[in-house]
Structures are given as structure tokens and as C-alpha cells.
Symmetry: C2
Subunit: 315 residues, 2 copies
């Protein structure tokens, strides 16, 4: 085994890069721009250039690099191809592993960004060595990752861990970004929480500190700030969020029965207040023997992806 590994987390605007030793300690990290114009054809050459530059900078022989792990914001198949990645301008299948291997001479593995973040948290973050974990990333959307026996469940169509699109409400009338109606993402993402809050404020004229904010400007952070201050209306909305997410996580746990559930993404900045809120409904809905499953906040923040990418290679 070589002595170094690269983790490369490709986002829509920037590419986070990390150099790790084989024990998973981070030696260096930096970012480059994501050039998604022109069908995103510069992205993989840019990554290859950055890696080759880093090898020179740190005086590392190519033969001392075990591999490159790459996370992409779209479906990733276990063979290293990405069928489609709109955020990167890739409208056709790209064989990321093969192309980066050709450009760098270094073995490459590929995963979905939410999946590699889950792997990172299970390995070096909230999970710290847990082999079976589910991570849900509550950001603008809702992403997820399922780790079984220390490995990502990529899924046959690259849709493993697409838990943001679990249907939680067959009666929903408003469509999700994915085109279906009633997805978890419509209620548990930052935008979903803001929507639940606006809907509750519009329902009647119950007093709330949230009425001091222009209704169209309300964010998930506003909701949780008011929740923490004990605002009754905010508590109602918080409970609604907790029930929807807790029930979805209970159903996932009845399917794959992980040791730990990790809550990440921007919404998790609300902090420890989230855990009892989710746990209350998780325990209400899950199978009795599963009710003791740990629920923790993510700890690696935006670095979860590069850690998980490194782990892809070290597996």
C-alpha cells in the first residue's frame, strides 16, 4: 500500500481536495474552482492537474499514492461511472474513474457526495469507527448515505441513500424538485422547514416572534432560534419536522438497522436541540429492538466528503 491518498469532493462551485496519510490523518487541504461550463469537460483535467501539482509540491512519488477518491453531486455507480451530473454540466455518462486514472496514472474510486460524506462521518466523524451507519444531510435539499459493513451502498442505479426522496406524505399537492410529490426533502430540508413555518404562520394569527420577520424571508435558522427561545408556534413546527424526519429515519432503521444515525448539513447547525426532537418520534415509530439506535450530530462539517473520499480508496 502507498503512503498517501487524495480525497476530492466535487461541488457545483468548488472542488475540495485533501491529502491524507494511510491512517486517515489529513496532511493538507485546499480548494479549486469547479469549471462546469462547456459540459464540464475541464473538471477532471483540473483535478488531475491539482493532484500532479500537489505531488510536486510535497515531493511525493506517484508510486507512493494508494489512490484518489472522488465524490460527485449526482448518482455514482460502483464501477466508477457517473450516468448524469447536471450540477457539473455532465449530460452524458462520464467514466470518472477511468478518465482520472488515465490523466494521473493513479487508481481512482468514485461515490455520490452525500454517500461519501456518510462514509467520512462513520469513519472519522460522529461515527468514529462505526461500521453500520445512516447519514442524513439536511441542506438546501436532503441527501443521505447508507454504510453497511463499512462500505457505501451505492445502489444499482447509483441511487443508494436517496432518502430525501422517500415519500412521507402521499397527499402532498406541491411537487418536489424531483417531480414527485411528498418527498422527505419537501419538509426536512432548510427550504422545507422554512415552508412548514410559513404555512403554519399563514394558517391563523397565533402570536409568534416569527411574525417580526418578513414571511418570505423566514429561514430554518429563524425557526430553530424561535424554537430554542420557547416560541409556541415555533415549537409546533419543530415537532412537525421532528415527526416527519423521525418517522422516516425509523422506517430506514427497520430496513437496514444501523448502529448510528448521523444528522448533518446546514440544518444540523441548530445543534443539540435537534436530537431529542428527532429521537422522540424515531422511538414512537421504530421496531422495539431498534429504538436504542444512536442519533448524533455530524462533526466533520464540510470536510466529511474528503474524508469519505479518502476512505473509499483505503477500504
Amino acid at each position: 500500500m502507498g503512503k498517501h491518498v487524495f480525497g476530492v469532493d466535487v461541488g457545483g462551485t468548488s472542488i475540495k481536495m485533501g491529502l491524507f496519510d494511510e491512517s486517515g490523518s489529513i496532511l493538507d487541504k485546499w480548494e479549486i474552482e469547479t469549471r462546469s461550463a462547456d459540459g464540464g469537460k475541464e473538471i477532471l483535467p483540473d483535478i488531475a492537474d491539482a493532484i500532479i501539482e500537489a505531488l510536486g509540491r510535497d515531493d511525493i512519488a506517484r508510486s507512493d499514492v494508494e489512490g484518489i477518491g472522488v465524490g460527485v453531486p449526482g448518482p455514482a455507480l460502483s464501477d466508477g461511472t457517473v450516468p448524469l451530473c447536471v450540477n457539473l454540466g455532465w449530460r452524458e455518462s462520464v467514466d470518472v474513474a477511468k478518465e482520472l486514472e488515465r490523466l494521473t496514472g493513479i487508481k481512482t474510486k468514485v461515490g455520490n457526495d452525500a454517500n461519501v460524506a456518510a462514509l467520512g462521518e462513520a469513519w472519522k466523524g460522529a461515527g468514529a469507527g462505526v461500521k453500520n451507519a445512516v447519514m442524513v444531510t439536511l441542506g438546501t435539499g436532503v441527501g443521505g448515505g447508507i454504510i453497511i459493513d463499512g462500505r457505501i451502498v451505492h445502489g444499482v442505479h447509483g441511487a443508494g441513500g436517496e432518502i430525501g426522496h422517500i415519500n412521507v406524505n402521499p397527499d402532498e399537492l406541491i411537487p418536489c424538485n424531483c417531480g414527485r410529490k411528498g418527498c422527505l426533502e419537501q419538509y426536512a430540508s432548510a427550504t422545507g422547514i422554512a415552508r412548514l413555518t410559513r404555512d403554519r404562520l399563514s394558517k391563523d394569527d397565533k402570536a409568534s416572534s416569527l411574525r417580526n420577520i418578513t414571511i418570505t424571508d423566514i429561514t430554518a435558522k429563524d425557526l430553530f432560534d424561535a424554537f430554542k427561545a420557547g416560541d409556541e408556534l415555533a415549537v409546533e413546527v419543530g415537532e412537525q419536522f421532528g415527526e416527519i424526519l423521525g418517522r422516516a429515519l425509523a422506517n430506514i432503521s427497520n430496513t437496514v438497522d444501523p448502529e448510528m444515525i448521523v444528522i448533518g448539513g446546514g440544518v444540523s447547525n441548530a445543534g443539540d436541540v435537534l436530537i431529542p426532537l428527532i429521537r422522540k418520534y424515531f422511538e414512537k415509530y421504530t421496531f422495539a429492538s431498534v429504538a436504542t439506535t444512536m442519533i448524533r450530530l455530524a462533526t466533520l462539517g464540510n470536510d466529511a466528503g474528503i474524508y469519505g473520499c479518502a476512505r473509499l480508496v483505503l477500504d
Copy 2:
């Protein structure tokens, strides 16, 4: 590797036993009684005796046996212990693997019965070599099994694949056998389908051939017989069943994204009519890229368990 494997599927009333060669061809199968009285303490010695007898009968050396795979009607941990198994009279944890190894001198692996049935179907049944599959067993209850990369997801508490207890209706008032309310099992099991049918018949006086049957005697088979004959009320209930099960399977597929879903258990005897019914709602609710997932009827019937048990050992 030895030349033979035993598959032992332990049920509440009988124990199915199979002798396989290492390619998974069945050489012999038979049943013995499950003696669950006295805390089920005779069960493992009975299995050991039956195996030792079979070795003598077929003139097989112990060293030519690769192992014993055992399925139990309760949670099974990946280390071969069974924390609790009420159906077998086991009120405390039983180390099935260790005890059978002690009694027979043969390496033993253990799985939950619905999980090993899923593995059997993925290996030699409907899946025929599929590495990633979900099986749902619609019987008196609803069981399930998740196969990822050819292996059972046992789960940390032995509750992997407990999809019968996914919550599909947070508004349900009547409790499930598990104590929670609104589990899939309450709608998609044979008893659940009979309940849906009775509830529909009681709702109004719409004409139906099902009214010729004493309402308390109505079975899932009666419902599907009337469904196939085009009975309008039966079609309504069938669609209700299809929507509940199809949505649950869509949500599971958005989590683990299998290549195939296998429908087994007594209800699957209704036959091919089930597939389009489930598929219609599966496609309505699942993530677009997952909508092409195959849905098939199980083909091994009651033998799925012994095949899966054999596969546990040959893995």
C-alpha cells in the same frame, strides 16, 4: 472447501433440512418436528442428531461438510447468536452457531428466516444470481430481507429487513402485533388484506361477490379471486393494497436501490396479477432513476429458506 452443505430452516412447528453440494444443487431434503416445549432446549440437539444421521445415511465424512446454515424465526445477529426467539421458546439469548458447532463439530452460520429466504431467492430463485435484492414475504405477517453485494443485511440489532414494521400510516388507531400502529404488516399481510376487505365491505352496501362469503371468514385469497374476476369492490381493495405496498417498496428502493424486488409468501400465490398492481404505485412514488427496478414473484416457495441457509455457508 468441503463438498457438502446443510441448510436448516427452523420454523415454529417443523424444521426443514436440506443437503446441498457446493454448487448449490439440492441432494436431499426432509423435515423434523420443532420441539419448542421446555424453553426449546431440544431444538439444537435435534438438529445436530438429524445432521449426524444424514452423514451416516449418505456416507459423508464430517471433513467433507463445509458448514451448516440455520434460519430462525426471530432476530439473528451476525455473530450467530439469537437474542430472543419466542416462536421457539427461547426467552434468552442462544448462541446457535457455537452450540451447533459444539454438537456437530461443523462450522455454523445463522440468519433470520425472512432474511435467509431473501438470500435463497436472490441466489437460486427469482433473482438467479442477482447480488442486490429486496424480498418481501407476505404471509400471516410481513417479513423481509435485504441483500447487498450478495450478503444479508442482518442489522446491528438483528432487525435488518424488518420491513413489515415500516410505518405506512401514522393515523392508524389499531395496534399491530408489535405494539406500534400503522405498520405495513397491518395492510399487506394475508390478515391485513382480509382486514382491508372487511373494512371496505362494512363501509357501504356496494354490490360485490365477496358479500356471498361470511364476512369474518373472508381471506386474502377470496379478495384476489374476486379481483381477478373483475369485482369492482375487490379491485378497489386491491388498488389500496397495491398503493400501500408499492409506496413502501419505493421508499425502500430509494434507500438501498436494489436490482430486483422479490414478492413471496402465501399472498404471492395470487400470482402475476400482483406485479402490475404493485409496479403502478412503485413507479408513482419512487425516484425516477429507480423506477425500472425489476419486481418478480418468488419461485422457490417453502424451499427458499434452506437454499438461503446453504448460501450463508458458501458465501
